[in-house]
Symmetry: C2
Subunit: 320 residues, 2 copies
């Protein structure tokens, strides 16, 4: 039996969709609803849509929620829940927490979306039971969240954990951020696509399988590489091995920096090629400082796409 | 007026010397004593020498200490104060906290020496007044300590903060640790010496000033580079600029990872060429993620060589 106060709302606001979920204390999603994000119409309209999305989610359940957590792809002031900047939504200084709390009449807590996912992984996913956890999500970009001694790290302005923007190759490949040679610029999804396209440009013959699968060089993505790999394509194999090595080199930095007990790896790049996890674990075992790697697991995430809403709900429940 | 309970002992145990200091609550050293470390005679003898060193330090003061902190160059179990491994002392599993507490009859707290220095910088040095601090010490190697949201990070096995062993150049220069291309392997003192020696080997004519100052190629150190720089030597200028760039690239990772409010830079490389601090600040301003660099100071350390004992004493006082 659930009652009103045992359920929490988890909300994920991204550039393409808003997702709401009613989540029980075990981290199970009871009901869920999605709504497209129409960022071009401005924050007021997106917040209206968010509230509508939440109502439709609640309408599916007999119970209410006692608290709501919102994960946003952007920089959040952790005290006020104001979104300082969210480039995908074109938001600057939007008082999201205040606005949604007014509309829903329950306490609301806003945090960065990757930190929300990390919280979900920690409370209800593959990071359960440890006090020192780093969660790394390798999708189009690379994001991360850090739990140290049982506490989530936020940093001075809420951006701690941006491990994707650690320098992996000084003066290396251009990143989408102001730095060069970032980990993300080698092992993130966009970088895998660029590296594959460059390899095909350099040797079109070797790249024939990739070209056939994608239709054109510019259409080659990380997914194309995975498809070619499944067909035994040697270039896809070379590219994927390089991605594993880049992932391992960057993860060695993570291990030496944070000394976690467990690392959870998730995101589209990992889901597309789960063998990266074991490859990274092996590189870390060889390369990390011995005391930092002594008691360390490197495991895949379990929660998949639900981690964001489950984590936002669990975070809100924790904050109260 | 001081009284017995207001003073704390700070002790630093390194491979060459043991240093004890009686420190008041403001972080001022009241009395101090040094003793050479004779690690070859084993941990029992070193602990006896440590206790003697402390007694001689106390003998100079009319007051006693109420608590003692010990910084050790090694891996420390933060709960028991046992030194798990200290390569410079050739120690494995030495119950230092228990042994010294028995001998002195006061509570003793043991921590890694770089974490002790960080604590000193935070409480009594250039890191005062902030909740999010990273202290980076660039000496022979590169070590670091992190305060996040008002708490020191230890990690699962006490080694968090080893930022010197983040990968700066994937598959780059060999490091003294199992990794390759570490930050330390480019910008640590030993690496600066190796890079200078390699530059002289490659172009002995350009390296004449360095050769003249050091006597031989193998004798060139970071200090030689600083001396040559003071004489306007172009190769020393090139090497030092590269060191600044490496320091800046690695510090960009630190900023993006931890989002500190302040970074304090200390150690022999910085004391030998303080201009590195401003150069790093400029690189970080250009390269770090905008929200992570918005409110960030990069400043030199103030405490110099006393940070270790002052920090160990302050840490012990805090632990009680």
């Amino acid at each position: 039996m659930t009652n009103a106060s045992s359920l929490a709302l988890g909300i994920d606001v991204g550039g393409t969709k808003i997702e709401s979920a009613l989540v029980n204390p075990s981290g199970t999603v009871v009901t869920t609803h999605r709504h497209p994000t129409d960022a071009a119409r401005g924050p007021d309209r997106v917040i209206d849509d968010l509230v509508t999305c939440v109502q439709e989610c609640l309408d599916q359940s007999a119970d209410d929620a006692s608290v709501a957590g919102i994960g946003v792809a952007g920089q959040v002031d952790s005290e006020t829940g104001t979104v300082r900047s969210a480039p995908n939504l074109d938001w600057t200084d939007v008082p999201l927490q205040e606005r949604v709390a007014e509309a829903l009449g329950i306490p609301v807590h806003v945090l960065n979306d990757v930190r929300a996912i990390t919280w979900g992984v920690w409370q209800h996913g593959a990071g359960r039971g440890v006090d020192d956890l780093v969660a790394v999500f390798i999708g189009t970009g690379i994001g991360g969240g850090v739990i140290s001694d049982g506490r989530m790290l936020h940093g001075h302005r809420g951006t701690a954990g941006e491990v994707g923007h650690t320098t992996l190759v000084a003066d290396g490949r251009d990143c989408h951020c102001p730095n060069r040679g970032c980990w993300e610029a080698y092992a993130g999804g966009w970088a895998i696509a660029e590296r594959a396209q460059a390899a095909v440009r350099q040797d079109p013959e070797a790249g024939q399988t990739l070209l056939d699968l994608a239709g054109s060089r510019d259409a080659i993505t990380g997914r194309t590489v995975n498809e070619a790999l499944a067909q035994g394509d040697p270039l896809a194999h070379t590219l994927t091995e390089a991605t594993s090595r880049y992932l391992g080199a960057g993860m060695t930095s993570v291990v030496n920096t944070f000394n976690p007990e467990r690392i959870v790896m998730g995101g589209g790049v990992i889901e597309g090629h789960p063998a990266h996890v074991d490859a990274v674990a092996e590189i870390v075992r060889e390369r990390a400082l011995p005391p930092a790697r002594q008691r360390l697991d490197v495991v895949p995430s379990e929660l998949g796409g639900q981690a964001g809403v489950v984590g936002a709900a669990a975070y809100a429940r924790h904050q109260g």
